[in-house]
Assembly symmetry: C2
Homo-oligomer: 194 residues x 2
């Protein structure tokens, strides 16, 4: 039996997107957003939605670029802090001891210590209401070499990505592997054919 919760923003999980941008004077800033994800395969694009009141919103409008740095579990507290205060009032890199590094292909900074960074150029901007949705074409993805295995594949255990679960406690590590995508569902195809 289902119960209505009303018209709420509940999708599980949401990502922990640390969005990097430059202030007008060139000072690097980061903020954490949960509203976004991959939006297109060709060209590869991400979406991230921000309120117009945020410093990052204005920064991205001005420079048409942003990065997304993904924290590992041990960096969750820093990522949480990035969502608690405005870059207008604080130097968030200084406060956390983390290091801004310029992206290679776009006009935005990323977090050097975070294991995966995505460099994005703004290609579309959509006004949805309280949030503006930025579509960023992915120009490059960079990963810490120690998150790759001997064959150059991503080792998710070493990457240790985190997920956000609203109204359910906060940040979570990924847990047990359930099974491979585009594979564990084949049992149902066999069932139909037999």
């Amino acid at each position: 039996m289902k119960q209505s919760l009303g018209a709420k923003t509940l999708i599980y999980p949401t990502p922990v997107l640390v969005v990097g941008s430059y202030h007008a004077a060139g000072r690097p800033n980061v903020m954490t957003a949960a509203w976004g994800g991959i939006a297109c395969s060709k060209p590869p694009c991400v979406s991230v939605s921000l309120r117009a009141a945020t410093a990052t919103h204005g920064n991205i409008i001005a420079r048409k670029a942003f990065t997304i740095s993904l924290p590992s579990g041990a960096q969750a507290a820093a990522a949480d802090y990035f969502g608690l205060v405005s870059g207008r009032d604080a130097d968030k890199f200084a406060a956390t001891g983390l290091t801004p590094v310029a992206a290679e292909f776009v006009d935005a900074p990323c977090v050097a210590e975070f294991p995966l960074v995505v460099e994005c150029e703004v290609v579309q901007v959509h006004e949805l209401g309280l949030h503006t949705q930025f579509i960023g074409e992915i120009k490059d993805v960079k990963i810490d070499e120690d998150c790759l295995d001997a064959d150059g594949h991503i080792d998710v255990g070493k990457l240790d990505p985190i997920a956000h679960a609203f109204e359910a406690g906060g940040y979570f590590a990924l847990g047990a592997l359930i099974g491979p995508a585009l594979s564990i569902g084949k049992a149902f195809i066999a069932k139909v054919s037999s």
Copy 2:
């Protein structure tokens, strides 16, 4: 030291969005998508990106509505199957033994057995390239009563949402709670003030 992986669609984690829609003749269909998430708080909106080649894309264009049903871990194989075959060729509900149920507020079906369903009315459509991004205003969210605790709060352990991690093995359960959002970062505010 970071290594470039090129311009790829890598964000961790991605959600497992089972998108419900009606075919022209009224037959219910579902497909699984990973490109999407929450897009706006007011009005509450989700985004989901689909290739024009999918049956679901045409269904949503025609009816201006879709649902998102979120599977629990035990339902991951069915969700995976929903992404493996086209609704043009198969009755995916019959193949999995799952039950379509009409949404209350929008013209689309959802999966009765999945613990959380989100009813969406299309408010914007964005052509991004290979994928079309549908913005759906959330009209209602429904949850299985046995996923709520005695106080009516979501029990994430009972909900058992799953995450998708591309190039990292497939579907994952949520693991250990790292800490509460908008809370564990406060340590850095104290550090600055002291």
